[in-house]
Symmetry: C2
Subunit: 730 residues, 2 copies
């Protein structure tokens, strides 16, 4: 091990090879970059050579996260494999089969969650009703109700605070980042899936104002990743397999939408609008097949238990928001939709701002542990008390669930049932009661999102919006205006509220339209969501983006920020580049690998000093692990004419990358003096830029090609390297 601690940048001399000295290029200025500037190099770079921005993110939590490289590592070994290997057709068939499997499993999970939730709610209702019929005191009833809710919430909180913190919240920010190229540790584990799926059962059953929708989308995505890694891999994945896995993740997410809302088209559009970093017709078809499978099976599972109804698909049960008949409206009503949309945008912006403040405070509690768990218990107790007491205050104490007034019942039933009631109930709700419910529910929803439980935001914001929309609709009807029914206004309001918070447009409108089979209400929905988004965006960002920011996840938006226009590659690149030699001594290589945590290294030619390509840490580790099996390690004076190349398929026995420890354990002490030829494993044709390249162009390259590292090369010499973190503005 002493070999490892020797300074690894010294000049070693062995055999005919000369190991060049410093592999850290510390300044780009030493390189002759001004190819054109026979006259004066400063002439045309006057507007660029500003002082390098000090506002760039180089620190903080963002650096915890690694990036994903969507770019193929097309080295000689891989190219050889690709030409020879003939599994393309089988791979295609396997892919489709796996996607269909993802759809079916997601549908099963969704159906399971629904069924269990129904049982939970039935039990709670029965318990409450039996307490009333047995003439218990209100205080005792309250105590029992709160106790039950707190127990449920604790179970949900336990999964988040002590098992897997990633199960908290809706999971949509995490999915969005993962698809964008941020490697979030532990997100694709079975443990996360179980925590999320079981946790959300209990958080919804605890009567917290949250929905199962976001967590279902997250669960679908995890199912996609798990199927991709375990069934589909390792034979069919490329070396890192990131592209394939991300296709499955996005398909799984859309299957989640399809399973919860019965909205396959909405699922595809949601995946496109929120999730996707890369999009093309092939991914669209994959996503669509997965979502359609999931929706079909969900519909099939929901058809009923008895033999008469079983298998009777396409009926009312397939519409999560109930069925709307065809409605007509006067064209002037569109102005009302615009107003509703604007209100939704304003309300959503206020909600987001409030939730942001709360979440900033919440960061102190940490992402796991007892403090966070206590908050869950306290909040659950308070919400349970409110949910129990308000109907009592409004209605008197002795009403059992079925006798309760419609507006009072809203506090006690699940969010999705309440939403359906608001959409479809023919008779009017009590206006004051509805207003009280809407305001209180909205505040509670804001308080809950970000709590240490799995909690979706769809249902709470839809329900809040539906309550306000219903109020408006009833008001319009009361003024005997010939408008759409109050239930339709409830849907418009719901769309406005969710679009105002999450800034989703088309996919939300389609989810609502599909979920209520009301394509004739498309135009009102479209107008509302577009206005809500525009108004909301005027004030702040969407709730998911806010949470991405709070978690300091290094998401790259689709377009560069306008501030980037002022800078070029030189201003953001890391100038200290750790480069490798094509023929490298193992002790030297192991030193570099253990001495830094870079994931990609430029390889620089021995004699010429020229940039030859990039090599990934994972590739190096895999090659080193194979070094014993193949005669890869040669003594320094050997001939490097006919170097053995590890066959590609040997490089990924189980799709996982070996650790440095595993590699070190596999090497004998005398191996450390030997030389490894890494030339066949170098990505020679990868992207690179010059230090003149504008930063917006660098950003576009990163964004459209899904890069992780971008070497900055001037006239064949590496002068710097740019990674995702260098591109993040704080």
């Amino acid at each position: 091990s002493c070999i490892l601690h020797e300074p690894f940048f010294g000049v070693l001399d062995y055999g005919g090879l000369h190991m060049p000295g410093p592999v850290i290029f510390s300044s780009w200025t030493s390189v002759d970059t001004d190819f054109l500037c026979d006259e004066d190099p400063a002439l045309f770079s006057k507007h660029r050579s500003q002082t390098p921005p000090k506002t760039w993110a180089r620190s903080g939590t963002a650096s915890e996260f690694q990036s994903i490289d969507f770019d193929l590592h097309e080295n000689a070994q891989f190219l050889e494999h690709r030409v020879v290997g003939g599994v393309a057709h089988l791979k295609k068939v396997m892919k489709w089969a796996c996607v269909i499997q993802v759809g079916i499993v997601t549908a099963l999970l969704g159906f399971g969650i629904d069924t269990v939730l129904e049982v939970f709610f039935d039990l709670q209702r029965m318990m409450r009703d039996s307490l009333i019929t047995h003439d218990w005191q209100v205080g005792a009833q309250l105590a029992v109700h709160v106790a039950v809710c707190v127990v449920f919430a604790s179970v949900a909180g336990f999964f988040v605070c002590f098992v897997e913190p990633l199960a908290a919240g809706s999971g949509i920010p995490e999915i969005k980042c993962a698809l964008n190229g941020v490697e979030i540790p532990r997100i694709w584990r079975m443990r996360t899936l179980i925590s999320k799926a079981v946790g959300v059962l209990f958080s919804v059953a605890a009567g917290l104002p949250c929905g199962k929708e976001g967590p279902m989308i997250h669960s679908g995505a995890v199912i996609g990743a798990l199927v991709a890694r375990n069934r589909y891999a390792p034979q069919f994945l490329d070396l890192t397999g990131t592209c394939d896995v991300s296709d499955f993740v996005i398909s799984g997410a859309s299957a989640g939408v399809a399973a919860t809302f019965g909205a396959p088209v909405g699922g595809v559009l949601f995946a496109m609008e929120e999730g996707s970093a890369f999009w093309n017709p092939r991914i669209m078809l994959l996503t669509f097949v997965c979502a359609a499978t999931s929706a079909s099976f969900t519909n099939l599972f929901q058809t009923g238990e008895d033999m008469v109804h079983w298998g009777l698909m396409g009926g009312l049960q397939s519409h999560s928001f109930g069925h709307f008949d065809m409605h007509v409206y006067r064209c002037w009503e569109i102005s009302i939709f615009i107003v509703v949309g604007a209100c939704g945008g304003l309300g959503g912006a206020a909600f987001n701002a409030a939730n942001r403040k709360l979440s900033l405070w919440r960061v102190r509690l940490g992402s796991r542990g007892f403090k966070r768990f206590c908050e869950v218990v306290v909040v659950a107790a308070i919400i349970a008390t409110i949910n129990f007491m308000l109907p009592v205050l409004l209605e008197g104490e002795s009403a059992i669930q079925e006798d309760m007034a419609r507006h009072a019942r809203l506090f006690r039933t699940s969010g999705s049932t309440s939403t359906r009631d608001l959409f479809h109930c023919e008779e009017d709700f009590d206006s004051v009661g509805l207003l009280v419910f809407a305001v209180i529910y909205c505040v509670l929803a804001c308080w809950t999102y970000g709590l240490g439980v799995p909690s979706g935001l769809f249902i709470p914001s839809l329900l809040t919006g539906a309550a306000f929309g219903r109020l408006l609709g009833q008001g319009l009807q009361a003024w005997s205006l010939d408008t759409l029914p109050a239930g339709v206004y409830a849907m418009i309001g719901a769309a406005a509220a969710l679009a105002g918070m999450a800034r989703i447009t088309l996919s939300l409108a389609v989810i609502l339209a599909e979920g209520s089979s009301s394509m004739s209400l498309g135009i009102p929905l479209f107008v509302t969501v577009i206005v809500a988004r525009a108004v909301g965006n005027f004030f702040n960002r969407g709730i998911y983006d806010i949470h991405i920011g709070l978690k300091r996840l290094p998401l790259l938006e689709h377009f560069a920020e306008s501030k980037m226009k002022r800078f070029c590659a030189r201003d953001v690149m890391t100038k200290e580049v750790v480069a490798l030699d094509p023929l490298i001594v193992i002790s030297h290589l192991m030193g570099i690998l253990s001495g830094c945590n870079h994931h990609g290294f430029p390889v620089v030619g021995l004699k010429t000093g020229r940039f030859g390509g990039m090599i990934r840490r994972s590739v190096l580790l895999r090659v080193l692990l194979c070094a014993k099996e193949y005669p890869l390690l040669l003594s320094a004076d050997a001939s490097f004419r006919d170097v053995t190349v590890v066959p590609y398929h040997r490089m990924k026995p189980d799709g996982r990358c070996p650790t440095l420890e595993m590699v070190r354990a596999s090497l004998r002490p005398d191996d450390f003096d030997k030389v490894l030829d890494i030339r066949p494993y170098i990505l020679e044709g990868g992207s690179s830029v010059t230090d003149h390249t504008s930063l917006t162009r660098v950003y576009t390259l990163f964004r459209t090609l899904g890069l992780r590292h971008l070497p900055v090369v001037n006239a064949g010499r590496v002068v710097g390297i740019i990674t995702r973190k260098d591109l993040l503005f704080v």
Copy 2:
């Protein structure tokens, strides 16, 4: 002018500058590329250095088409402008306003076409009926009918054969290519729009089996381009404006779908599935707003003429395929949908193969002129005869339209009316009559597509499929199976037929579901279209792709073909590169510009011989045109320290690129000896590859970044250049 004809690659010597001799690099091998190969350069390139493929397209019609460069030409001048210029906010507002305008104009056009078509059909029907009531002989009736149809068809044919050949067909292949980056001359002209829109009126009114849908989509796209160029440009477009214009084109196309089918979501999905080369949430939102606007206004226009109905939106009239109630079906029926889908795929493949043979024969007629016109007249006469005589043979001669049996009436009414009948008619059609109609109509539709008239394929294939589907549905009902109504089967059949021909999946299903307000039938539609596409793709390509191939349009598919795996950049690049010097003598530059038709030139440093960046022909021409106004042209012995740079906004007074003739006219004779400094106009940071880069990677770069030229640079030296045509496999 004698200056222009002097050999422009000679060594000129003036002042302190040395003009290097040959600017054509004819071989890459002379350049030192083997940076790594201290041992043996052939070692790691053994699987690559195959003989360059001889099958690459370098010739033929494809070279008629220029490519579009979606990449920004970020030269020093532009970067300066971008940092200083502050029109971003206004630009945004303008863009939204223009997109809404595109939606409204498209809706107006669609409504206009519908209205005029209705008048034409009413007149024809009245004429036929009055002939019958006046007891004309069948022969005389036939003669009048055929004469009217031939006159209508001639008008349509006139527009295509003598005015604008691009107005032929559906226009979807052309739109697809234009968005992909192929510059199709004349496609965005007002003349094309008028030819298409007016022409399709007459071709549909002539009773040809074609629809107005494809042409409407094309018209929408042209409207988008026209608005972008005339309203939005020139203040807000970037130098070439291709990105902005293509956003408008795609929005316009989706508005076209929204206007014809009343399906805004379908429009967005269609644009994504068929049209888009680049896709991101921003384009999606733009497209969505445009489609929603178009659908809203179409709905508003269609609400009726009287005061009672005017403005009553959301009703039946907004559904182009009529309204389906909610239907339930047993899960085993899905197997029938699969069979229908498979049949659709088979039928579609047969249709495509037949149409391909026919179109290959048709190429001989030329794209315009008398021969093609004659074909239109002959085909129209035959089809009119069939359409007239078959009802007479089936029904007897004296039936006026309203008395005719339902199946006989199919021959006489417009395609969209017939489709609605097949979808919604409660009573059964006569099976034999329906079968006769389906077979004959299918053959005629195949014959018509590709004829010299504007003709969409949507309605013909939907109608054929609907007829077969209805037959199946009636058969199932007759066996007293408890299946979905025959009308629903007609819709399933329609979806199968169109998906089998055009291989559209999600967008087609959504268009049908939106157009008939039947989201509950989503799953049957999804299953059908997915199966139809899969089966069809087994045999041949979609009809649009076949026509793109026949027209030899250089479309780049989303993914590289697997054959490309074997090659690298070196194998396809053009080795004869015409390079420019940063300080260039005008006579030399004008000689190069007139001596070749390249649209991009690498600039190579004077002393160093290094690659400095690319410059576009259009930029050079604009700069030369400004040369008089700004003191750009200096004598060869001048100092090039402080060169005047043309302000960016002066470069695009009307968005058009000046011709070489205009430039030549603007120069005085003594200007030809002067020197122009082109350094500020060079794109320095553009993409480049090495000659080792794998061809699939080159393809991906072209495809994802929308490139037009890709220089191949080894260690700072240009060794070749790759253009779109080099990437096309024959």
